[in-house]
């Protein structure tokens, strides 16, 4: 077994073993420590994956993994244990490992109220991590589906066990809605497998084995499945409830990386396997993406609950990502990938901050929050930073994804795409409007009764959890090449095999 293969296995095995060890630990704190250590080791294991052969060897294959591992598992179901990593998946893999580590570390400091034990929460976070990492690493369609499903129940348990007052309903809505997406994925996967006779993503990418009719059917099913997960308007309605009720760490994982399974799947699986279908459906996808941007922003303008507002802002941001994918150009796909990472970093930070504010003031209502700057200037400052990053200020991470998505749409040309680009830009302006409104309501003004008694300091654990995200938001903003240099090869390879 080569070093690369070993790393691929380790990236999945470490959190899985960590989850078991954390759940089986005798003490609650020991369990949380063991889990956090496993998450840290996982992050360490993801980093060296970047080594290996990166060269773009030519147009023969749409996926050229840096490392891969291919073992037979269930031949009767066309399922192979086929893992691999390339420039599209690696940044997401690292982001997942990082956010999970931060969440586990945060849990070390504070276990959300709700009745469940801390070590169980850490174990569930690690199981979710296994599912997400597996989804990003899978190079077999059926394996991809399998990992896609793994996250459902642990995430349900996190929301239902440690969430807010209305958590059961929100958790049920989340799991049923996203299972609906998953089962469509199952049907879509086997539509492809039955027609092509293989589930190998490397062989399938480019769609040369599928007839046009099959591609249209497969793309419809797959795109619907991923649209539920991303979520794309109008299939997003599970998201605000889940976010509002989920505990802070749940929200961070959910917004930070779980949604990316949808956009990643759209690029790697739906576009990769059924490019004809993608071309055929691109205008619809583009229109829906822009609708998501505009509607998400408008809803945010009228939103009075902090976490709900951030949740709806996710709908808008994922709209930009999907618009980038819908253009089917190199610029657009690059925009989608960097948008994914930026959203993961910034929204993760925003949810951490919203959780901190809610924990301190016991309210998330914007009406009851004002003057945060007066009593908790550091918290207010960080919130300001995250909001400004999220609204797409040049120099911070959020800018690149939005700007390039708009540019890709305008460059695509034609009346429809130009209009979509202009409307998306307008949506970007609306994003700025609602984040500035949020800042005005929360940090400025006279301290409200809820905000008045706050202590100005931040806990060490909070700073430790937030600092990497702040730094990453800056780093990706100043040097987008951090993500784009890895992504350009695979994106060109993917586009090279599209008809």
């Amino acid at each position: 077994m080569s070093f690369g293969e070993f790393l691929l296995v380790a990236v999945l095995a470490l959190p899985a073993l960590g989850a078991v060890a954390a759940a089986a630990s005798p003490g609650d704190r020991t369990g949380r420590l063991v889990g956090t250590a496993a998450a840290a080791l996982t992050l360490l294991a993801t980093l060296p994956l970047v080594g290996g052969e990166h060269g773009w060897v030519g147009p023969q294959s749409g996926v050229q993994p840096w490392h891969q591992l291919d073992l037979p598992w269930v031949p009767g179901l066309d399922l192979r244990f086929h893992l691999g990593v390339d420039g599209i998946s690696w940044p997401l893999v690292v982001l997942t490992a990082l956010l999970t580590l931060l969440c586990c570390g945060y849990t070390l400091w504070r276990v959300p109220a709700g009745g469940g034990s801390g070590r169980t929460l850490v174990a569930l976070l690690l199981v979710v991590e296994v599912g997400i990492l597996g989804t990003f690493l899978a190079l077999d369609l059926v394996l991809f589906f399998l990992f896609f499903e793994v996250v459902l129940l642990p995430m349900y348990a996190i929301i239902a066990g440690w969430g807010g007052a209305d958590r059961r309903r929100a958790a049920r809505k989340f799991v049923l809605y996203t299972l609906f997406g998953s089962v469509l994925l199952l049907v879509g996967v086997y539509v492809v497998v039955a027609a092509a006779g293989t589930a190998d993503l490397v062989a399938l990418t480019g769609g040369s084995r599928l007839s046009r009719g099959t591609q249209l059917a497969a793309f419809t099913l797959l795109a619907l499945a991923f649209a539920v997960k991303s979520p794309l308007w109008p299939l997003h309605s599970w998201l605000p409830d889940a976010h509002t009720q989920a505990p802070t760490v749940g929200s961070v994982i959910l917004a930070g990386v779980l949604l990316k399974m949808g956009t990643y799947g759209l690029i790697r699986v739906a576009v990769g396997v059924a490019p004809e279908g993608a071309r055929w459906a691109a205008p619809v996808l583009g229109v829906l993406a822009v609708a998501a941007i505009l509607i998400g922003s408008l809803v945010c303008l009228a939103q009075d609950e902090l976490k709900r507002l951030i949740a709806y802002s996710s709908v808008g941001h994922m709209g930009f990502v999907l618009l980038g994918v819908a253009t089917l150009t190199a610029t657009g796909l690059q925009a989608a990938l960097i948008g994914n990472i930026a959203h993961g970093v910034i929204t993760g930070l925003l949810f951490f901050l919203a959780g901190a504010i809610k924990d301190r003031t016991h309210t998330g209502s914007l009406v009851d929050l004002s003057g945060l700057r007066e009593t908790a200037p550091r918290l207010a400052g960080l919130l300001g930073f995250a909001a400004v990053a999220s609204l797409g200020l040049p120099g911070l991470a959020g800018f690149w994804g939005e700007a390039f998505a708009v540019i890709a749409a305008v460059r695509r040309g034609g009346g429809l795409w130009t209009t979509l680009g202009v409307l998306a830009a307008l949506g970007g302006a609306l994003t700025a409007a609602y984040f500035l409104r949020l800042l005005r309501r929360v940090s400025h003004g006279r301290p409200s009764p809820a905000v008045g008694p706050l202590a100005p300091g931040l806990a060490g654990a909070e700073l430790t959890a937030w600092a990497p995200l702040v730094l990453l938001a800056l780093a990706v903003g100043l040097a987008p090449a951090l993500v784009l240099s890895y992504a350009s090869g695979p994106v060109n390879a993917l586009l090279g095999v599209l008809p």
Binding site: W73, V74, P75, G76, L77, D78, G115, G131, V142, F145, L146, E149, V150, L152, L153, Y156, A160, G161, R168, R172, V175, L176, L179, F180, V183, L184, L186, V187, Y190, V191, V193, A194, A217
Partner: protein, 487 residues
């Protein structure tokens, strides 16, 4: 043609073992008259039957009771699988019966004897090569169950359940027999393979209205046994009135018997042009109605009963692919039958684990109770509760219940291989409906603790352990089941 048949006793060994178990149990009860001995004899017999079936099954196909090339008893790979699974299920149900038998409201000898008789029917069923053997085997499987359902002394619900079950089941058998008789009238044969060949060869015979009626009668009669909608109404009432281990047997072994019988006639005898559309319709109705009604259930056993109605729909679904011409190619048909059998094996394993957990979490002589009675059970009994949750999640078809997930995947794959995408979508949407109520039960298990319950009996815990361990093993290595099913 010689009138003296040579009988292959090796092929009949599993049946001898099963029938011998029943006789021995009866004798042990008469002569020794100690409950422990009777149960031990029954358990040993069931284990021996499973072992015998497995051993005979590895030796290749054996035929006996033949007239020319048509044989009434064909013990091949699938027959061995069915026989072994039924014997193991009997063993499992015996393990579940410990607390019930100790409570003393049920005569131990009779209970074990009847269970062994039912096992004999199940062991024969997979090997049946003609319609009469098939119906006799199925009746041998079901007949003892009428009594078992109502065996509890002084239980009105049990008696009601037994009568409902009896009446419906007898009507169903009558329908099947009528269909068999009409088929005989049309084709002059009862052997499954000969029937299939005759109907395939002659379009004239196949297109007779009488043939269609006969085929429909056979299928409908067997659909009653499977509790497929709209022939399902007896199942929830019967399950709920029966003692819990008997309900477990009804929803696993008895359901398996019905499906195997249906599969035998559909695969070997009846024209797919007629059965395909009927089965597709039955599958859609069964899944959807079962799941929708299960959503509203407040009693544990009724919920499991309706869910097992829905599960029968998933089992039938791959056969629904036969409705379309593209689903009737040789490859697609083989895949469809194998998928149905594989789903069945995954299902009985998870269902047995679920029922075992209900038995463990309820008082010795109690019924399934309401969902509220299980509130917080998994917090007080983390292992049993965890196994229950795993079984339920598996029945819903989600990880970590990988066995159930692969079962659903097998069905969807077979359907798409047969170009029945619409049916695959129905299965998929039903999986979402199913999760809603399984999840409610799981959430109840992990809710804040309710009243305390006694320690589960040791045999029951052992049964849960074995069933869960098996479910985990086939969850990671589903190829084992797929290979067995494809024989």
């Amino acid at each position: 043609m010689s009138l003296v048949q040579s009988v292959d006793h090796v092929a009949l060994l599993p049946a001898y073992l099963a029938a011998g178990t029943a006789v021995l149990v009866l004798l042990a009860d008469l002569l020794v008259a100690r409950a422990a001995v009777t149960v031990a004899v029954a358990a040993t017999g069931a284990a021996a039957t499973a072992l015998g079936a497995a051993l005979v099954g590895t030796g290749g196909e054996r035929r006996t009771f033949c007239v020319g090339t048509d044989c009434s008893y064909v013990f091949g790979g699938r027959a061995a699988l069915v026989a072994a699974v039924v014997a193991l299920l009997t063993l499992g149900v015996l393990a579940l019966s410990g607390p019930l038998l100790r409570a003393g409201r049920i005569p131990v000898g009779e209970y074990c004897f009847l269970l062994a008789c039912a096992m004999t029917g199940g062991v024969l069923l997979g090997a049946a090569g003609d319609l009469i053997t098939l119906v006799v085997a199925l009746e041998t499987l079901t007949l003892p169950l009428y009594v078992l359902v109502g065996l509890r002394r002084g239980s009105l619900a049990g008696a009601e359940a037994a009568v409902t079950f009896f009446v419906v089941s007898v009507v169903a058998t009558a329908l099947t027999l009528l269909g068999a008789a009409l088929l005989y009238a049309v084709t002059g044969t009862l052997h499954l393979d000969r029937l299939g060949a005759t109907l395939a060869a002659s379009a004239e015979v196949r297109d007779l209205p009488l043939t269609t009626v006969a085929v429909a009668l056979v299928v409908v009669g067997l659909a009653f046994k499977v509790a497929a909608v709209p022939f399902h109404a007896w199942a929830p009432a019967t399950y709920d009135g029966a003692p819990l281990p008997v309900a477990a047997y009804l929803s696993t072994a008895s359901k398996l018997g019905g499906v195997v019988a249906l599969l035998a006639v559909v695969q070997r005898a009846l024209p797919a042009t007629v059965t395909g559309p009927v089965l597709a319709l039955l599958a859609v109705l069964t899944m959807t109605v079962g799941n929708l009604v299960a959503l509203r259930q407040r009693r544990t056993v009724r919920l499991l009963a309706w869910s097992s109605v829905a599960q029968a729909g998933y089992v039938l679904a791959p056969l629904g692919a036969l409705a379309l011409a593209a689903g009737r190619t040789a490859d697609a048909r083989t895949a469809a039958y194998a998928a149905a059998v594989a789903y069945l094996v995954f299902f009985v394993l998870l269902e047995l684990a679920a029922f075992a957990a209900v038995v463990a979490l309820r008082p010795a002589d109690g019924d399934g109770g309401s969902l509220a009675d299980l509130r917080g059970a998994a917090r007080r009994h983390p292992w049993v509760g965890g196994a229950f949750a795993l079984a339920l999640v598996g029945l819903a078809g989600l990880p970590p219940g990988l066995a159930g997930l692969f079962a659903k995947v097998t069905v969807v794959r077979a359907l798409l291989a047969g170009h029945a995408g619409w049916l695959a979508l129905v299965v998929a949407v039903n999986a979402v409906l199913g999760l809603a109520y399984y999840l409610r039960l799981v959430a109840t298990l992990y809710a804040a603790p309710g009243p305390a319950t006694a320690r589960p009996a040791r045999t029951v815990v052992a049964a849960i352990g074995v069933a869960t361990a098996l479910a985990v093993v086939v969850g990671f290595a589903p190829q084992l089941v797929l290979d067995l099913a494809a024989h």
